[in-house]
Amino acid sequence: MARMKFICDAERCIECNGCVTACKSEHEVPWGVNRRRVVTVNDGKVGERSISVACMHCTDAPCMAVCPVDCFYKTEEGVVLHDKDLCIGCGYCFYACPFGAPQFPQAGAFGLRGKMDKCTFCAGGPEVDNSAEEIKKYGRNRLSEGKLPACAEMCSTKALLGGDGEVIASIYQQRVKRRGKGEEVWGWAMAYNRKDAKSAAKQEVKA
């Protein structure tokens, strides 16, 4: 069975925020709501890395566990979705989530929280697929059209991979085998594919 997953390859992410823009444009989320964001770790320092983060569709999702009205559910593919009609805007999922995925549009004075909004893995919500109501509440349902999440498909460097977990894990594995990981991904030889880089990669694979 397909298990939907995201991976962000920190060696490739160039912090272009294309995923953020793709998501906002695909789902027309309200102002102040960002289902996806890019975090740059050690910005401006040696070894800087950027990484795109949104809902990770956890297997044991903390948001589901703490929701006082149990408005979360999980699809067969492991996508964590929720019913906005049931959501009371308490913010508990926001406290529990390690990734800061749940977003709350402001619904009144004093920062009163509206209905929670988060990444749906482009799988909509519990309305009729691609109905006007679903698009209004949850955005596009690309999965039902046989497409992958807009952020991953739009990624210019293919840093953000999304889709069937086994497939994207093998893509990532192939990359790591070929180019190395972490500190090794560096240098002109690596960038311009010189022979010494290839021999380095080969040696690494042997090791």
């Binding site: 997953k5 991976i7 390859d9 920190a10 912090e15 925020n17 953020v20 960002n34 964001r37 890019v38 975090v39 770790v41 050690n42 910005d43 320092k45 040696v46 070894g47 990484i51 990770m56 956890c58 297997t59 044991d60 903390p62 703490v66 929701c67 006082p68 009205v69 149990d70 408005c71 019913d83 009609d85 049931l86 009371i88 913010g91 508990y92 406290y95 529990a96 989530c97 390690p98 990734f99 800061g100 402001q106 004093f110 920062g111 009163l112 894990a169 190395g180 972490g182 500190e183 090794e184 991904v185 560096w186 240098g187 002109w188 030889a189 690596m190 010494d196 380095a200 040696q203 690494e204």
Partner: protein, 382 residues
């Protein structure tokens, strides 16, 4: 009994037990996605930011880990960030907003495990056991009755301002308690019965009641504190009262002032201590626009829910003693006046103060025709 047979029998039992134990030990090895996942790794692909434990880069690397043979990398100048740089530490994010620059915030897992675990479990037990104990006590011993007949002379115990503040606090407390209970326990108790849609409506209305009644409760606590603190200062005789459980065991009342040791305990522990902590943590949760961090909100929520549960538990005792548990006590807070007999039996020193004129027994206008001032003997008395 044949010893050979017995030995075989024992052997068989031991082997069966061994099989069962071994099987269960094997079966109980935690599943990969067990609920008790470590806090900082809730089932995410670990490929992304693998915490490669290496020396920290400050400006120039001091200890450079070896690179694979043939690598063209400049040693030490492309080390990926350490996990400790990522975890719960603010980084850079071009998306603006509260804590958008925090990649992973692991305090939520701690909050979740405490809230969904001990807080719900023991809190629920406390809120079920306390009323059961009180009702059992009532069924066995009944209310504390007055030993003497009513004198017919009334003493003013609470003036109208004091009563108004008390009842504002009481009604807002009850509203907050019920809506709070719905949020913590509702999905276990109410949701399976009435279904998700109806429960969501109840909870969203409850949440708004909780949000808007909360500040009223905070104000009433402040007013209550200043009105009642004077008579709630602990004195030596309160400790005598407490050490004798207010005469509960002996049946003899220990003389006390306007408030006895138990009432002072309720005042200082519940209304002052719990009240302040629950109010402060509640206000932190009430205003998401104060830029409160998730960690602080989670901590506030734990303090709020656990102390509110204790507050509710102690309030049940207070409500019991103030209503069905003590004859004539409810009248004092409802109408403001108590009978002199009641005052003599429960608060003898206070009555003495009133009678000797140290303290006025009449601080607000008495309703016409309702009562007679304490100093005037009632007709037909003696």
């Amino acid at each position: 009994m044949n010893s050979k047979f017995r030995n075989r029998w024992v052997l068989q039992l031991v082997s069966v037990a061994a099989v069962i134990v071994a099987a269960n030990v094997f079966a109980q090895t935690p599943a990969p996605t067990a609920v008790t996942a470590p806090a900082n790794a809730p089932v995410v692909t670990p490929l992304v930011v693998a915490p490669i434990a290496q020396t920290p880069i400050v400006e120039a690397p001091k200890v450079i880990p070896p690179l694979p043979a043939g690598s063209t990398a400049a040693p030490g100048w492309n080390l990926p960030p350490k996990w400790s740089d990522v975890e719960s530490t603010g980084q850079y994010a071009s998306v603006r907003g509260r804590e958008t620059n925090v990649l992973v915030e692991d305090s939520g897992q701690w909050w979740r495990s405490l809230r969904n675990g001990p807080l719900t479990f023991y809190g629920g037990i406390i809120l079920l056991v306390i009323p059961a104990v009180l009702l059992t006590f009532f069924a066995i011993k009944g209310p504390f009755r007055l030993h003497d007949k009513l004198s017919g002379r009334l003493v003013e115990r609470f003036n109208s301002a004091e009563r108004m503040v008390h009842w504002t606090m009481a009604f807002s407390f009850v509203a907050l308690a019920f809506t709070g209970i719905t949020i913590l326990f509702g999905k276990h108790l109410l949701l399976p019965i009435i279904g998700p849609a109806a429960f969501s409506w109840i909870t969203v209305i409850g949440k708004n009641i909780h949000n808007f009644v909360g500040p009223l409760f905070v104000f009433s606590i402040i007013a209550f504190f200043f009105m009642y603190v004077k008579d709630n200062i602990f004195t030596g005789r309160d400790f005598t009262w407490l050490s004798k459980f207010g005469g509960l065991l002996s049946g003899n009342h220990v003389p006390s002032g306007r408030f006895n040791g138990g009432e002072k305990m309720w005042f200082w522990m519940s209304i002052v201590l719990f009240g302040i902590l629950v109010s402060v943590s509640g206000l932190l949760l009430l205003f998401p626009n104060w830029n409160t961090s998730r960690e602080l909100m989670a901590q506030s929520n734990l303090i709020h829910a656990s102390l509110a549960t204790l507050f509710m538990a102690t309030s049940l005792g207070h409500i019991y003693i103030g209503t069905i548990g003590t004859e004539g006590a409810f009248q004092g807070m409802k109408e403001g006046y108590v009978d002199e007999t009641w005052a003599k039996e429960h608060h003898a020193l206070w009555l003495e103060e009133v009678k000797s004129g140290k303290r006025s027994g009449m601080r607000s206008g008495m309703p016409a025709g309702k009562a007679i001032a304490a100093s005037q003997p009632a007709a037909g008395d003696d």
